[in-house]
Each structure stands twice: as C-alpha cells, then as structure tokens.
C-alpha cells in the first residue's frame, strides 16, 4: 500500500517536471507585456491577458509562418510516403540482387541528420539555385525522413503473411484489390506512424530552414518564432503564444503513434 502511494506520488511529480516548462509557456503567453520586464518575475499573470492570443496574429506574420510550416510538412509527408510505400512493399515481398545493400543504405541514412550535413545541403541548394525556396525544404525533409518510413513500413509489410494476400487474390480480388483490401488495412498502424512521424519531424525542423530561407514570407514557425525576441524588442508573450500554437497539435498527434515508434526507431532491436 505504501509502495503504491510512493509510486503514485513519484509519477505525478515526474509528470509535473515534464510539463512545467510548457505550463510556464502558457502562463507567460497570458501575461501583459509590462509584467515581463518586472524583477523578480511573477508566478502568475497579474492580469490574464487572453487577448495576447488574438494580438499575436497581427504582431508578426504568424499566418505566413503557419502556412509555410503546413505546406512544407504536408508536402514532405506526401513525397516521403509516395517513395517509401513501393520500396518497402517490394523489399518485403521479393528477394532480389541488391536487396541487402538497399536495406543497409536505408539503415545507415536513417542515422543521418541534416545538422551534420548542413554545409553540404546549403552548397547543393546554391548550386541547384534552390536557396530561399520551399521546394528545398520539402526535399530535405522528405529525404531525411524517408529511411525511417521505409524501415517501419518494411517491418509491417514483412509481418503480413504472403498467403493472406494470395488467398484474397485467388478469391478474385485481383492484385490491386488484395493489396488495398488486405495488406494496407493490416499495416495501417505503420502507415499512420510514418505519416505522423514525418509530419512532426518536418514541422519541427530548424537548422535547414534557418540556413536555406531568407525572405520573411518563406519562414516556417521554427524560424519565425525566435524573431519575437531580438536586440530591439522582447515580446516573450507572443513568442510563447505562437510556440503553443505550434506545439499543442503535434503533441496530441504524437501520443497516438508513440507505441508504434520504438520498434522502428531502434531498428527493431527492441520491440
């Protein structure tokens, strides 16, 4: 019984520690601007300024940041899925020369992050005349998340017995019918995981967007948000109001896919 009480207490303490910074975001976003320069700081807003969440839209081109983030994340997700699905399905169903090499390439590049390669990416985009375009961001986000998507989908497709598909085929469903009516529904958790993971990774991507974009109307949220606080202005309340707009939806999405993620991220060594 005491063990249970201690565990519960510890659990809630952990939850509090992990949520504290985001709670602080929320509280700061609701403080009037004058209160932000007070020393020492206040725990709670003296006046709960809900209007900050309305004023933020005119304080900076937040709509543009949001539109850019959405466009890049959605387009990157579509490109990634369109490339990953056939590759994952084919490698799961067929033995062919180069299969091992391909899967090795996928595993190795899964560990590459744009950060280490940012100089090379920047030089390439200059050479291709793609700097300051959304296409550059879409391509980079699609390509760097592709290996993970191939890997997780490969795992799902491999786990579905070939016989199941063949049975549907023999029953007259046709090759395409067998694929869309049997294989795809069973591998739905994998597909959804790939979609959500790519979307969130592209949504949160920072260093390439910071490096490759220049004009204000091509900045995603991650690059736009810090510009609320510069040498000349300090609108922390708007900075965190926008941050919350960026964070809350993806946290909710993420909670749904978490249990499907670990196997894919650890290349299956922990399942």
């Amino acid at each position: 019984m005491t063990r249970r009480v201690v565990l519960t207490g510890l659990g809630w303490l952990v939850a509090f520690v992990f949520l504290l910074p985001y709670l602080q975001m929320f509280i700061t976003a609701l403080k009037p601007e004058k209160e932000l320069t007070k020393s020492p700081g206040t725990y709670l807003p003296s006046h709960w300024t809900w209007s900050n969440f309305i004023d933020v839209w005119s304080a900076a081109p937040v709509w543009t940041y949001l539109r850019v983030s959405l466009t890049v994340a959605a387009a990157a997700t579509i490109v990634t899925l369109a490339c990953a699905m056939p590759a994952a399905y084919y490698t799961a169903r067929n033995r062919f020369r180069g299969r091992g090499a391909f899967l090795l390439l996928v595993l190795v590049t899964q560990m590459f992050a744009p950060t280490a390669l940012v100089i090379g990416i920047y030089r390439e985009m200059v050479a291709l005349n793609l700097t300051d375009t959304l296409l550059a961001l879409i391509l980079v986000n699609a390509a760097f998340n592709l290996p993970f998507c191939i890997w997780i989908l490969h795992g799902y497709f491999s786990s579905i017995p070939k016989e199941l598909e063949e049975a549907a085929f023999l029953d007259g469903a046709g090759r395409v019918g067998a694929l869309t009516r049997v294989t795809l529904p069973i591998s739905m958790p994998g597909v959804v995981t790939a979609i959500v993971y790519t979307f969130i990774a592209a949504w949160n991507e920072y260093i390439v967007a910071l490096t490759v974009t220049a004009s204000p109307d091509r900045r995603p949220l991650t690059v736009g948000v810090p510009s609320f606080v510069t040498q000349y202005q300090a609108h922390w309340q708007f900075l965190f109001a926008t941050s919350l707009i960026a964070i809350v939806p993806v946290v909710i999405l993420f909670i749904f896919i978490e249990r499907y993620l670990i196997g894919g991220l650890t290349a299956g060594s922990v399942k």
């Binding site: 249970r4 565990l7 519960t8 510890l10 659990g11 952990v14 992990f18 949520l19 910074p21 985001y22 007070k38 020393s39 020492p40 700081g41 490339c83 990953a84 056939p86 590759a87 399905y89 084919y90 067929n94 020369r97 299969r99 091992g100 391909f102 899967l103 595993l107 190795v108 560990m111 590459f112 992050a113 950060t115 280490a116 940012v118 100089i119 090379g120 990416i121 200059v126 390509a143 592709l146 969130i200 949504w203 920072y206 260093i207 949220l221 991650t222 948000v225 810090p226 922390w236 965190f240 941050s243 964070i247 993420f254 909670i255 978490e258 670990i262 650890t266 290349a267 060594s269 922990v270």
Partner: protein, 314 residues
C-alpha cells in the same frame, strides 16, 4: 548492371532455351521501378551533400561566396590552427558524454516507474512524451526565459527559498550556461530513452521474476542479476542513438547562448555553423563538417552492430 552482364555471358554459352533478352532486362529492372524514387531522393538529397561537403572542405571560397579553386588541405590546417578548436572539442566530448550518461541513468529509473502500476500512469506517460513531440528549439527558448536574469522563474524560486540573495545571470557565465544547457538536452532526450527502456522492460517475461522470487532473491539482486542484463540491447541501442542525437544537437545551444560569450559554450556543431555563416570561412567550416561527419559514421557502425542489421533484413 553486374547482374545483367553475367547473365548475358551465361546465355551465350548454354544451349537451353531462355527467355528473350528484353524479358530478362525487364525482370532485372523491376526492382528499380519500385525502389527508384527512394534511391533518387536519398542519393540527391542525402548523399550528394556529403560529396558537396567534402568538396567544399578542399576548396578556397572567398568570404563573398566565390569559389576560387581547390586549395588542398589548407582548410584543414587552418581549422587545426584555430585557438578555439581544442577547447571546443573537449567541451563537445564533455557535452556528449555527460548528457548521455545522465540521460541513461535517469531513464533506467524513469522506464521502471512508467512500467509500474499506479493510478494515472497513462497521464504520466503522456506528460513524459511532450518534450519529445515539441520543437526542441521552442523547449530551449522557454528554458532560456525561465533562466532570465530579471524575471525568470528559476531566479524567483531560488530567491523565495533564500538559496540565492540576488538574481543570477545564469546564461552569461560559460560554466553555468553549459550545465543548464546540458540539463535541457537531458530533458529532451529522456522521453525517447525511457520509452526504449520501457519497451525493453516489457519484453522480460513475468515468470523470470517469479523464479527469482521463489529462489528468495532480494530486490537488489533481481535488478542487477536479471533486469539489467536483459535490458542490455535496449540500453546499448538507446545509448548509441543518443550519442548521435546529442552530438548533432544544435537548437539548444543556438537558442540559449549561440555558443557565446565568444565561443566559450560552442560544441563542434555550432562552431562549424559559425565558421560558415558568421565568419564566412566556408571552406574551413567544410573541414569541420567532414570531421564531425566522420565521427558520426563511426557511431553508425556501432549502431549497425547493435541493431544486428543482418538478422533484421532477412
């Protein structure tokens, strides 16, 4: 291609009827149709930058961005002549080592807690996920604000508890700033790591513990004799992935101190970035990038071993 050539040679010597050349070519090319888009995307956007980076490291590029030509290893000797390099490398080792060791230790406890049964466990698990899903940049920014000299929460709490008697400018002193940024890095690494440990714990069958209980093993012995050894694959893979992620970690330092004052809180990653985009020494930055990338490749080799990739692709 190799495949095609050997088959063609085989066709010339054997007498048995074989499918037409067109058919065989078609069959050899089928995988390409399925894998093609992925291969193109990976080669053009992931592998090309690697080549471009190596090329950059061997080129003389003026501060205005004009490529003058190749200049051998000048960029590398320039890099190794930087006075800041040795401190930056040592700091990077401390950064990676410190964060990964602390993250792994805390995650072992946290994974255990998330695996235990108590009311509200589901909500606690959700709370732990939040820093994983949220933008690392934005998490770093809220910590920067909480550590603010004038109105930050950390100073307020410490003042109220009489631990400090006047506000401390935490991020202005390299030592303190480094420790706080390491904490933020631990904070954002904990969710993934403890969920890997949790997944590892869930693979341990209940009857192993049952047997230990029957044998009268103490909780201490059960943990170090059974749980920890069985968690080895999870610990190994999580450590390697963490080393790579933490080494690549850019937004935390960039948002909180930008490597300053001077380069006193830089790691090799932010140092590389500043060389290219602040100091306009693009070639030298390329050299730093190549060194960074080589280190990551070594970690990827460890990763492949730990992931037992040969069994995985079967």
């Amino acid at each position: 291609m190799q495949d095609l050539k050997t088959r063609r040679r085989g066709a010339a010597t054997s007498q048995a009827p074989r499918p037409s050349l067109l058919r065989r070519t078609g069959r050899a090319l089928t995988p390409l149709a399925w894998l093609g888009p992925s291969l193109v995307l990976i080669c053009v956007v992931v592998l090309w930058p690697v080549i471009e980076m190596v090329r950059t490291s061997l080129q003389h590029i003026t501060s205005s961005g004009v490529t003058v030509g190749y200049n051998g290893t000048t960029n590398y000797t320039d890099l190794f002549d930087e006075d800041d390099l040795i401190p930056v490398v040592l700091r990077t080792l401390l950064w990676v080592g410190g964060i990964v060791v602390i993250t792994m230790t805390l995650s072992l406890a946290l994974g255990q807690l998330l695996n235990a049964r108590f009311p509200g466990r589901r909500v606690v698990r959700w709370a732990v996920i939040v820093p994983w899903a949220a933008s690392v940049l934005m998490t770093a920014l809220i910590w920067k604000w909480m550590l603010d000299n004038y109105s930050g929460l950390v100073n307020r709490v410490l003042l109220d508890l009489h631990i400090i008697d006047k506000p401390v400018n935490w991020l202005a002193h390299p030592g303190q700033a480094m420790l706080w940024m390491m904490w933020v890095a631990v904070f954002v690494s904990l969710p993934f790591t403890s969920f890997v440990i949790l997944a590892g714990l869930q693979t341990i069958p209940e009857d192993v513990y049952e047997a230990a209980r029957v044998d009268g093993a103490s909780a201490f012995r059960t943990y170090f004799g059974i749980t920890l050894p069985l968690l080895r694959p999870a610990i190994l893979i999580a450590s390697i992935i963490n080393v790579i992620n933490v080494f690549n970690s850019f937004p935390i330092i960039w948002a909180m101190t930008a490597g300053g004052p001077g380069s006193d809180t830089d790691t090799t990653t932010t140092f590389m970035y500043k060389l290219a985009f602040y100091d306009q020494h693009v070639g030298e930055s390329g050299a730093m990038a190549v060194v960074n990338f080589a280190l990551i490749l070594v970690m990827v080799l460890f990763y492949l071993r730990a992931a037992r990739w040969r069994e995985e692709v079967r």
